[in-house]
Symmetry: C2
Subunit: 157 residues, 2 copies
C-alpha cells in the first residue's frame, strides 16, 4: 500500500540532535501543521478539539534494528517496546495541543516533531478512546517521569 503526505509539519527543530523526544518534553514548543489545499475541507469541526493525534513519516530515518538502546535507557530493548523512529514502517505518532486553525494551517503546541516532516493523518484525541488508566510501562517505569528533561542525540539519525 502506498502512503501519500497530506501536509507538512513545521517546527523549530531542524536537526534530530537536541530535540525533545516526546511531546511531554516539548511543552510550549509551538509549530504549525500545513494541510495541503485539496484536503482542507476535511478540517471542518476539528477546531472543537483541544488535542489531536498526528501521524507522520519519520522521513529522516532509514532502515531499522529490532533491538535498540532507547534515549531513556542504557540497555538494548525490543524495538516495539520503544518509540524509536527507525521502524519497519517508520510512522510517528504524537498527541499535540491544537490552539487554532487558520487557512488550512493548524497552530499547535507541544510539538516533538522535526521540521518539514510529511503529515499522513490527523485524528481527534478522545479520552474515551485514547486515554488509559492503571497502566504498567515496563522498562520505562523508572525513567518515564524524567522524560521531559531528556533530549535526543545522534543515535537514530
Amino acid at each position: 500500500m502506498n502512503i501519500t503526505p497530506i501536509g507538512i509539519i513545521h517546527s523549530p527543530f531542524t536537526e534530530p540532535k537536541g530535540m525533545p523526544i516526546q511531546p511531554a518534553g516539548a511543552v510550549g514548543v509551538k509549530g504549525t501543521v500545513e494541510v495541503f489545499s485539496e484536503f482542507q475541507a476535511g478540517l471542518k469541526d476539528l477546531d472543537g478539539f483541544s488535542h489531536i493525534i498526528l501521524l507522520y513519516l519519520f522521513h529522516r530515518s532509514e532502515g531499522f534494528n529490532l533491538q535498540v538502546v532507547p534515549f531513556m535507557d542504557n540497555e538494548p530493548r525490543g524495538l516495539f517496546a520503544t518509540r524509536a523512529p527507525r521502524r519497519p514502517n517508520p510512522i510517528g505518532l504524537s498527541v499535540v495541543q491544537l490552539d487554532r486553525i487558520e487557512n488550512g494551517i493548524l497552530h499547535v503546541q507541544n510539538l516533538d516533531i522535526l521540521d518539514e516532516t510529511p503529515l499522513l493523518d490527523i485524528k481527534p484525541y478522545v479520552p474515551e478512546f485514547d486515554g488509559q488508566i492503571d497502566v504498567r510501562t515496563g522498562w520505562l517505569e523508572k525513567v518515564r517521569k524524567t522524560v521531559s528533561k531528556r533530549r535526543s542525540d545522534d543515535r537514530f539519525k
Copy 2:
C-alpha cells in the same frame, strides 16, 4: 513511501457491520496479534507494558470523502475531526490491553479491529506521552460517553 505489514490482527469481527467502533466499546473483546517471525525479535520487553498502540491498515476501506456523517452523529463532519476508516492514508490506531505474549502472538483485549487486519506497527502506550487531561472534544462532547453502546453499520464499508 511504501508500507509493509509486519503481522496480522485476529479478532472475532469478520464483518464491519455490528462491530464496536472504538476499543472503549470493545471492553473484554479478546483477540490476537500475530507478528511475522522476521519481526519477533522486536517484541522483547513489550510484555512489561499493560497497554499498547496498534497501527494498522483499514484494509476494507476504499477511497475517502472529506466530510462524513460519523457513527455517533447525524451531521456531516470534517473527516479529520472523526475516526472514520476511509481516509487519504487509511491507517487505523487503537490502544488495546496486552495480556501476554506467546511465540510471537500477542494476546490482547478491548479489540475494535476487523479480523485479518494487516498490522503496521506496535508502540508502547505511555501515559506521559499519550494521555491528556483537560481535553475538549468538539462535536463528540455530547455523544462520547455513549460510545461504548454504539455499533458500526455499513456506511464505511
